[in-house]
Amino acid sequence: MMDCRDVRQHADAYLSNEVLVETRLDIMRHLEGCPACRADLEQRQALRTTMRRAFLATPDLEMRASFGDAIRQTLREDAVRRAATPAARWRWAAAAVGVLAVAASLFLVVGWDTSRLVALAREAWGDHRNCAIAFHLQEKPISLEEASWTFDPAFAHLQTTPGTTVSTPVGDALITERHSCVFAGRRYAHLVMRFRGELVSLLVAQDDAGPMASAIRMVTLARGHVRMVHVDATDGAALFRTAAHMGVIVGSVPDSDLEALADALVQPVSNALAL
């Protein structure tokens, strides 16, 4: 049987409907015979009602009508742009299949190393989807500065480089976020950009391959050069290698756009990581 102290302890959780059914029944039984607790509960509820009313009524927090109209228009235009993307993506996917077929013989020579690049691209897509788009990472992202103390000092340089706007021949990319996150056990410096109407991620990780793999990678992916790989028919990735890191750019834009962005990023990012 609950006493007044128990009821008051659970009172707010009760009002928020956050107590177990048994506790709720116990509280209700107590309230039937306790006017003081009923009054206490009513006062707590009144405070909540006041807060809610005040918050939702104050003109200080009111949205401008013109902003509402503008954002609807902007979002609608975004939706139109996105609607145009899948068709383009399929065209590029078809082209990519052709490219992959031509590259098949080369794959026999350096196939195992290429498969490492594809695996890296697949992980980068996983991080992009779960961190930049769906916010489903198990481990909370941390700042690049914090990551530079604990995991990789070079990450600190990506706090300011590249700058907020990255110019490419097909349009500017605007960097909206910089942080460090973990996906599939690999720690990344993660720069999220808005590019060609889509969210695009640059993920930088330490190049963990041994000397032999690095030697073969010189063929597969020469330092400072950009290489496109495909995780599947639609998901492409642009990869580049610096002295000690791999950079992967992923996002739902055509391969040529990814490549253009990678070309614009490879030099400043390589220089920053080498500092």
Binding site: D40, T50, M51, F55, A57, R72, R82, A83
Partner: protein, 187 residues
């Protein structure tokens, strides 16, 4: 350019499910940012990201809670990018010592007093109180939106409510004193 039927349908669903929360989302952003331009920018980025990942939203679940999660995520990332301290420092232990006495629940609280008292609380307490009492999110939804454990949500709510009552009681006392002074001057 026209939208393909599938995207047209998706836009229509987004418009029906998400956009009705625009006004509430803006109030939340405005409360936290205290700056109209930043609030508008925050809401715009939130809705853009929501539209982009709308196929991941589960119909029938709380769309406002989903939008609030995205808003908090964007806000948190922006603060990190600006090099500000995290939104949620280890405030709980420090504040635990600071609320030893919980005054009685004040009566006749005005809207102005309530908002002023709320604004004086540390940000982590404001966040949970607004998300719980104004947005009516469940503890689980708040925990997800703020990326903190449910236990932390509960303890912040308890301490936040206690602090709010203390602030309101203090305001009540000041108002009483002002009234007494005014009536003394009149007589």
């Amino acid at each position: 350019m026209t939208i393909e039927p599938e995207h047209d349908r998706q836009w229509a669903v987004f418009e029906t499910e998400a956009l009705p929360h625009l006004d509430r989302l803006f109030r939340l952003a405005m409360w936290f940012e205290r700056n109209r331009t930043e609030a508008e920018d925050l809401v715009q980025e939130t809705l853009r990201q929501a539209l982009e990942s709308f196929h991941r939203f589960t119909p029938g679940t709380n769309c406002r809670a989903w939008l609030v999660s995205i808003l908090q995520h964007v806000r948190s990332n922006r603060r990190r990018a600006k090099g500000r301290s995290p939104i949620v420092p280890d405030v709980d232990d420090a504040i635990a010592q600071a609320t030893p006495f919980v005054p009685p629940i004040p009566q006749h609280v005005t809207d102005e007093d309530m908002l002023a008292a709320l604004a004086e609380l540390p940000a982590p307490f404001q966040e949970v109180l607004v998300l719980c009492d104004v947005e009516e999110l469940s503890y689980k939804e708040i925990a997800h939106a703020l990326s903190i454990p449910i236990g932390t949500v509960m303890s912040r709510l308890n301490r936040g409510r206690a602090r709010l009552r203390t602030q309101l009681a203090e305001r009540g006392r000041l108002a009483d004193r002002r009234r007494e002074t005014a009536s003394g001057q009149t007589s």
